[in-house]
């Protein structure tokens, strides 16, 4: 095991520990915590400290130690958590995380906040306990310690009378004697052993007289370190008479160590939980696996396709191949995807701190934390989201007084949500503040020369001025969001990862910023269906249920307006085959897939066959082929077939106003 490999493990583990620490702090911030929360944070910091010491990261160890001491006080209820304490430990976690980062490049460097936070932490540690000797952190292993005494090697004589606890703790006298080296004579006084009738198996009776040649007293003491308190150890001075052997004395030769231990089973290697991989390798793997799946399908087709009987052994091997290929595909697909949970958790702090800095009471809500997106996307979303959330608190929410003046709750709400939206990941940042002040935005834009004075702009166009380079709505730059970085930077960073960002805002009700990200590598659950002769995939996220209806339940209201009766409600039918131009005749028999639109309206997609549900990799069409109305992307199915992934929202829009207006209408009820 090389030191580099160990370090890599250490840093990967630190990443997880920092995450655990952050999660714990968030729970405390949300006031949703218990003693186990503090324990978990403590353990994370403690583990970082423990391992960091092994690599000599002294700055990191010293800081972790101080932080841990404060956490220990919280853990033992000698320090309560109030807003100040929470702020200090939150900042301490930041510093610790930075120190971990720094340790990878410059182990002795201290982040700017190191000293102030250290001072804050010290403020919670009683003076009596300070200063703690730093050497303690690097206390050497008992047996590795060098003899500290100035004593010269000589002959040491001791009397050692272990009591029962010595044996109970897994010690054996001969092991300690052996450790003292070859020049040891041990004489056991068996007179102390009582008659069998009085013998108590739980008592140590034997007393040993030892003479150790060529050792110092401290060396001997060191060997007996673990036996301290487990019996009597008397050092006999040279003046004392040498132990006189009584008649019943038993001389014991210190034996050679046993070498006939039973062969234990082979140890399993310590398992690593995370692995750092160059993303390009994963991409290559994903592509190759796609090819493998296709190749598997081609082989199966060649063997089974002509309908002649297949050798059972070949058929069985083919089945194995099919199974293994799918296993590989599933495993590979899951490599890059990660839930957005960790990102969202980090954002909780951003909102809390923004609330503190602006004096606004903010409640932060998250939705869709389990939504999986590409890890690289997660990393690159952190900055824009931070900025957007700060904006939401700083500019979006009104002051508590202004909120009180309306009928709003004094605490504003900022919501961060993630969801899969037909081949995209949609991330929304919304606030329940005053909404965009369009008059002011326009005025500002005119003042900044972004638009001409007599321009007539729609609301959407005005809203989008926020993204114009150099635009800043704050008349005075606040110490929070106004750091010279505008929404244009947010937009640029979202665009750079292939996404787009839009705004919707309602006067007095708040604003919502929507980030739509492509999901070229994301995994999507979908239902595979046939439409005419095409195989298509409907994303599961939008599906409510699938229905095989009787012909009585399909009702024609007009030639282009068919509805499906579902438990007393009438749902507009969207017949996919004619809609997508695959054929002209209607499919009135279904089966149907009920989908829910973003508006909450329900529609029934008529398809020709519903096959099964599976996880698929989304392959973008736009880059390779071009945008197709109603289709978001494509995928390669397990059998090598290309299937188009439908975009339910776009299909609903494509179906036109008939379907749009008649949703959930009760007919004749």
């Amino acid at each position: 095991m090389s030191m580099d490999a160990l370090k890599a493990t250490f840093f990967a583990e630190c990443e997880e520990l920092v995450e655990a620490m952050t999660e714990g702090l968030q729970q405390i911030g949300d006031d949703d915590w218990g003693s186990e929360t503090v324990n978990a944070i403590f353990r994370a910091v403690h583990s970082i400290k423990g391992s960091a010491g092994a690599f000599g990261f002294e700055t990191l160890v010293a800081f972790a130690h101080r932080y841990e001491t404060v956490l220990d006080k919280i853990r033992s209820n000698t320090l309560g958590i109030d807003a100040d304490v929470l702020r200090v430990i939150t900042r301490a976690s930041d510093v610790l995380a930075e120190l971990v980062e720094l340790a990878q490049v410059e182990p002795d460097a201290k982040p700017a906040a190191y000293d102030p936070v250290m001072t804050d932490l010290n403020g919670y540690i009683e003076t009596a306990a300070e200063p703690e000797p730093e050497e303690d952190l690097f206390a050497p292993v008992a047996f590795a310690a060098l003899p500290l005494g100035l004593d010269e090697p000589e002959d040491v004589r001791i009397e050692f009378a272990p009591d029962a606890s010595f044996y109970r703790n897994g010690h054996e006298p001969e092991r300690i004697f052996t450790a003292l080296g070859p020049d040891v004579s041990a004489v056991c006084d068996a007179d102390t052993v009582p008659l069998l009738s009085d013998f108590n198996v739980d008592t140590g009776y034997l007393v040993w007289s030892l003479e150790i040649k060529g050792k110092t007293e401290s060396e001997v003491a060191e060997a007996f370190e673990y036996a301290k308190g487990l019996g009597r150890i008397d050092y006999l001075s040279d003046d004392a008479p040498a132990p006189v052997g009584p008649v019943s004395e038993i001389a014991v030769e210190v034996p050679a160590p046993p070498s006939t231990q039973a062969k234990p089973a082979k140890a399993r290697p310590a398992s690593a939980q995370t692995l750092r991989i160059d993303p390009e390798r994963v991409d290559r793997l994903i592509n190759t696996v796609g090819e493998l799946i296709i190749n598997q399908a081609v082989i199966a087709q060649k063997i089974e396709g002509d309908g002649t009987p297949v050798d059972p052994e070949v058929a069985s091997a083919l089945d194995d191949y099919r199974y293994l290929a799918r296993e590989i595909q599933e495993a590979v697909m899951s490599i890059r995807a990660q839930p957005v949970k960790s990102l969202f958790q980090r954002m909780a702090r951003v909102v809390r701190e923004a609330g503190e800095a602006t004096g606004k009471a903010v409640s932060f809500e998250t939705r869709g934390e389990a939504t999986e997106i590409d890890k690289t996307l997660i990393e690159r979303l952190a900055d824009p989201l931070t900025h957007m959330l700060r904006n939401a608190v700083d500019h979006g929410l009104e002051s508590p007084e202004d909120r009180a003046a309306t009928d709003k709750h004094a605490t504003g709400t900022v919501t961060l949500s993630a969801a899969h939206r037909s081949g995209h990941v949609m991330i929304e940042v919304s606030d329940d503040g005053a909404g965009l002040d369009r008059a002011r935005i326009l005025k500002k834009a005119i003042a900044n020369g972004l638009v001409a004075e007599d321009t007539n702009l729609s609301d959407t166009e005005i809203d989008n001025l926020l993204f114009a380079p150099g635009f800043s709505t704050a008349d005075q730059v606040t110490n929070l969001s106004g750091r010279g970085v505008g929404m244009d930077v947010v937009k640029t960073s979202i665009t750079s990862i292939g996404g787009r960002v839009t705004i919707t805002s309602e006067q007095g009700r708040g604003s919502t910023f929507t980030i739509l990200l492509p999901l070229t590598l994301a995994v999507l659950d979908g239902i595979v269906v046939s439409v005419a002769d095409e195989t298509m995939v409907v994303p599961i996220a939008t599906i409510i249920e699938t229905i095989r209806a009787s012909s009585d339940d399909v009702i024609e209201l007009s030639p282009d307006n068919w509805v499906l009766k579902v438990r007393g409600a009438y749902v507009p039918i969207i017949d996919l085959a004619p809609l997508l131009g695959f054929r002209t005749e209607r499919n009135a028999a279904g089966p149907f897939i009920l989908v829910e639109a973003e508006t909450g309206a329900v529609y029934a997609f008529a398809v020709d066959e519903i096959w099964d549900q599976r996880q698929i990799v989304i392959k973008s069409l736009e880059g390779n082929y071009g945008a197709i109305p109603g289709i978001s992307a494509a995928t390669i199915l397990g059998d090598g077939q290309i299937a188009l992934i439908v975009d339910p929202e776009a299909l609903i829009a494509l179906a036109g106003p008939t379907a749009m207006t008649s949703h959930k209408q009760k007919v004749g009820a």
Partner: protein
């Protein structure tokens, strides 16, 4: 020569790797467990010549591990070493009173760890 087996219990992956590397280099077989509960379970499944346990762990801490191991009379002769950052007397006394054979302080030196394990298992000390 047959290898002695050591059960190393630590919730830190880095520590498990370090202990494993150090002891395997010295010819021991090492089995690892990620927390106290897993450690006690692993201990119950086969014979070990020694146990090294961290103290501060989720689910069951090292003190609990020592207690669990020592609660069965047949296990009293198995050396149990504590490997932790704590070094106070109070702490050692508690570990000792529960039945710990010895203790090592993190960060440990490879030679010290190996030496100590050799001593408590009665293996020849190099």
């Amino acid at each position: 020569m047959t290898a002695l087996s050591v059960l190393a219990i630590d919730d830190s992956r880095t520590m498990r790797m370090m202990v494993t590397a150090a002891l395997e280099n010295a010819g021991f077989d090492v089995v690892t467990a990620d927390d106290g509960v897993q450690g006690v379970e692993a201990f119950g499944q086969r014979r070990f010549d020694a146990v090294i346990t961290d103290i501060n762990m989720p689910n069951l801490d090292g003190f609990g591990v020592i207690e669990a191991i020592r609660s069965a009379p047949k296990n009293r002769r198995v050396p149990v070493l504590v490997l932790t950052t704590e070094s106070s007397d109070e702490f050692r006394n508690r570990a000792r009173s529960l039945g710990a054979t010895g203790w090592l302080v993190k960060p440990f030196e490879e030679a010290g760890l190996v030496n100590t394990v050799r001593i408590v298992t009665g293996q020849d000390v190099a």
